[in-house]
Amino acid sequence: MRGRRLYLDGVSVVFDGFRALNNLALVVEPGEMRAVIGPNGAGKTTMMDVITGKTRPTSGVVTFGDLDLTRMDEASIANLGIGRKFQKPTVFDALTVFENLELALKAPRGPVACLRWHLAGAGRTRIEEVAAEIGLTERAHDRAGILSHGQKQWLEIGMMLMQDPDLMLVDEPVAGMTDAETEHTARLLARIAGRHSVVVVEHDLEFVRALGCKVTVLHEGTLLSEGSIDHVQNDPRVVEVYLGR
């Protein structure tokens, strides 16, 4: 089993007196797939921000293996093997789909290395594979700016795959996708899990059920419930704050 264990404990994030995360604990084992659900504003995205170095926690422990993530910047965390798909897909509009994927491809990241970069056969094959996997082969040489919302979602998932990270943080991957696309995404993520740890944030409970993994419910920045989808759906606290509304 490759990868390290993600460990969060006692994590709080305070924005101007507002507690977006409140004493949050979470453990994701290497190769595990985990779904995170919770009402709007529960702190799901903030949790990913903390893991990826975008937001520094006000207090608490965030480690990946034995590495303290709260002391590292975004780029170092990414190079450690933590990839992320953002809730609002952000791809590089001026570049083509192919170029977006090439930029994400695991390779030396320095300026000189990039100047001397030559896309070799293995890298090209990998890009072609991922382009096919995300259904964008036909659009490979179109600028990413002209893709539809769903296609941008796919491209961002593709860019995460290109990085080949040990841990993937996937924020609302199926927003704006058709049912068929949603199903395809669930299959894709299920295939990835096992080789990589995956944390998926999603509102769509059918999708979460299809993933068939352990579910964590967040509410007001804390862990409310954890277990199988059936367990959390029947947890009275969850029913009260989230599902019952």
Partner: protein
């Protein structure tokens, strides 16, 4: 998973068209010094004035190109690029001053006239070495480069971007201007350097010298253009574009954007320094006015008018705006600043992609 092979698409026609435009401009310019040798009554005769003024414009085009690399590709809107240009110019000026030797008004064997006048007993340490051409050329690149490295490192590391970065670069050129105005800096105060005699053993006030400097500038322009074209065509160039459009996102892909921006900023500053060094022997003077904030802003307008992020646009913009300026400052000198301002507003509102955008729009 089976995968279809993805072939890179051929270069678009508009992009090829722009390169052809650049090539044509270079060929026409290259003919200027030759056409200058034709008799005056020949229709193809190019006047001394046009040769010397276009030699200056070529230097401006190099400056514009350097700015386009920083702004058009890496998204660093520098309002202080004139400072790098001026520093390159001063480094060349120091070399030219040392070459005057005992031919100055006071006839001092080593000290330039202004130093004798100010009562210097010996050459300040930072003037040592400038009698050597290779050393001076090294400084032409190194001084702007190191300044860009330090300033860029401080700003990029602290994630200062956008307007704040622009204001800092503008403040930098202003501060340098004030510093260079001071006599005790040892750079000739507000008079700067002038009365140059020769360069590389070639007397400067001859037609041959003018033509040589003209071709040196043109070659440098072509070299810088090809360098930028190569650089922006690599994955590094695509990383810069990505940083320009969504810097934070690039960080999450594992790129240390600070080092990428620094690399581009330093390369750009060195290019600007080179432009200044070619400019000074052609105009025969360098003074602190070259640091004035207005110069840097004008350079930004050239790039905006030509179309940023296209390289050819920067060159086109430098030539067209300066052509207009030369014509207008003789026809209606008071109007120039108004026209320049109006031009900038008009381009921003109606031609966001500049003249190049106009050409590309036609090509479709």
């Amino acid at each position: 998973m089976s995968a279809t092979t993805l072939h890179a698409p051929p270069l678009s026609r508009t992009r090829l068209g722009l390169r052809a435009l650049m090539g044509a401009a270079v060929v026409i310019l290259a003919a200027f010094p030759l056409l200058n040798m034709l008799p005056q009554d020949n229709v193809l005769h190019v006047s001394d004035f046009l040769v010397s003024v276009s030699g200056k414009w070529i230097c401006y085009a190099i400056l514009a190109l350097s700015l386009d690399l920083a702004w058009g590709y890496a998204g660093i809107l520098s309002l202080g690029h004139g400072a790098f240009f001026a520093l390159g110019g001063y480094a060349m000026g120091m070399h030219l001053m040392r070459l005057i030797g005992p031919r100055g008004v006071y006839g001092h064997p080593t000290l330039p006239d202004f130093m004798v006048f100010l009562g210097y007993q010996e050459l300040p340490w930072y003037w040592l070495g400038f009698q050597s051409f290779p050393f001076a050329m090294l400084m032409v690149l190194l001084v702007p480069g190191v300044l860009a490295l330090v300033l860029g490192w401080l700003c990029f590391r602290s994630r200062i971007t956008g307007v704040y970065l622009s204001i800092i670069t503008q403040a930098m050129t202003y501060a340098l201007m004030l510093a260079f105005f001071r006599n005790d800096m040892g750079f000739g105060g507000n008079n700067g350097f002038t009365d140059f005699k020769e360069l590389l053993g070639m007397p400067l006030n001859t037609g041959a010298a003018r033509a040589t400097l003209f071709y040196a500038s043109l070659l440098t322009l072509v070299g810088c253009y090809l360098f930028c074209l190569w650089m922006t065509g690599t994955k590094y160039g695509r990383v810069l574009t990505a940083i320009r459009d969504a810097e934070n996102r690039v960080r999450f892909l594992g790129y240390d954007t600070t080092s990428h921006k620094l690399f581009a900023f330093v390369a750009s500053a060195m290019m600007a320094g080179l432009a200044g060094a070619l400019y000074v022997p052609q105009v025969g003077i360098i003074n602190p006015g070259e640091f004035s904030p207005g110069n840097s802003i004008e350079a930004v307008i050239w790039v905006a008018v030509g179309g940023r992020g296209t390289l050819v646009g920067a060159v086109l913009g430098a030539f067209s705006v300066n052509g207009l300026k030369t014509w207008l400052t003789s026809a209606a000198p008071d109007l120039w600043l108004f026209v320049l301002g109006a031009l900038f507003v008009a381009v921003t509102l109606f031609l966001p992609k500049g003249l190049v955008g106009l050409i590309q729009g036609r090509g479709k």
